[in-house]
């Protein structure tokens, strides 16, 4: 019974690993606790988005991940 939390871009360096298994279900408070203080601080920033099951959340604090979901933490992007 797990949720996979994925650290994208620079958050991967902060987390020290590309992903982490967390017990399901997972809400916003649980996420902040699961990722450690450094990543949690980043999650507080407006520029950092959260996707659950392939969909970017309009309100990330409304996260409700269930067993098998992938939760992706998306820091500010830079392409081109």
């Amino acid at each position: 019974m797990a949720v996979t939390v994925l650290f994208l871009g620079p958050l991967r360096d902060l987390a020290g690993e590309p992903s982490r298994k967390v017990t399901a279900p997972l809400d916003w408070a649980g996420l902040l606790q699961a990722v450690g203080p450094e990543v949690a601080a980043q999650l507080g920033e407006e520029r950092v988005n959260v996707a659950c099951a392939g969909r970017v959340l309009g309100d990330k604090t409304a996260l409700q991940a269930k067993d098998g979901d992938e939760v992706a933490l998306l820091p500010p992007v830079s392409g081109g």
Binding site: L6, L8, G9, P10, D13, A51, G54, V56, E70, A72, L74, P75, P76, V77, S78, G79, G80
Partner: protein, 157 residues
């Protein structure tokens, strides 16, 4: 004609533009932008760029590019749009991105390329980092868009 691709291997923009142009008969103009890995500014104290890595998030990135292409086709008077973006590790001189727009009149083609590039630069699901030769034995450093990039994006809102 809409052609949106996320590539994991090097590509030659020239080999895409010819067929793209030919696939839009009756066009008046084609505007193309190709972005390449820069070797770094000559006076950059951090030394030359050795490598650039673009990472993406499979469930979002290509779909986001499709949505962007649809927005451009909706907003500008286009006949066709080609949008290609590399991911993975690249080296100076290698193409990262290629956007090409075919239209009856140049205005739509040029503006569409401008619009797509501004969005790919700081509103698409990519993360970019670079490794420089002189910096602490080649450590990777994450790159965020420049203030100019964010300002450019605001023009379309």
């Amino acid at each position: 004609m809409k052609d949106v691709r996320l590539l994991h291997q090097p590509f030659l923009p020239g080999s895409l533009i010819g067929p793209f142009t030919n696939s839009n008969p009756g066009l008046g103009g084609v505007c193309t932008f190709v972005g390449e890995v820069r070797s770094g500014d000559r006076d950059d104290p951090q030394g030359p760029v050795e490598a650039l890595e673009l990472s993406h998030y499979e469930p979002l990135t290509l779909e986001g590019m499709q949505t962007l292409a649809d927005a451009a086709l909706e907003r500008f008077d286009l006949m066709g749009l080609l949008m290609v973006h590399r991911v993975g590790v690249m080296h100076p001189g290698e193409p990262i991105v290629c956007v090409s727009a075919a239209a009856r009149h140049r205005r739509g083609a040029i503006d569409a390329v401008d619009f797509c590039m501004d969005h790919l630069k700081c509103a698409a699901w990519f993360w970019k980092r670079e490794r420089r030769a002189s910096e602490k034995g080649g450590e990777w450093r994450w790159i965020e868009p420049r203030a100019d990039d964010y300002a450019d994006l605001e023009r379309w809102k």
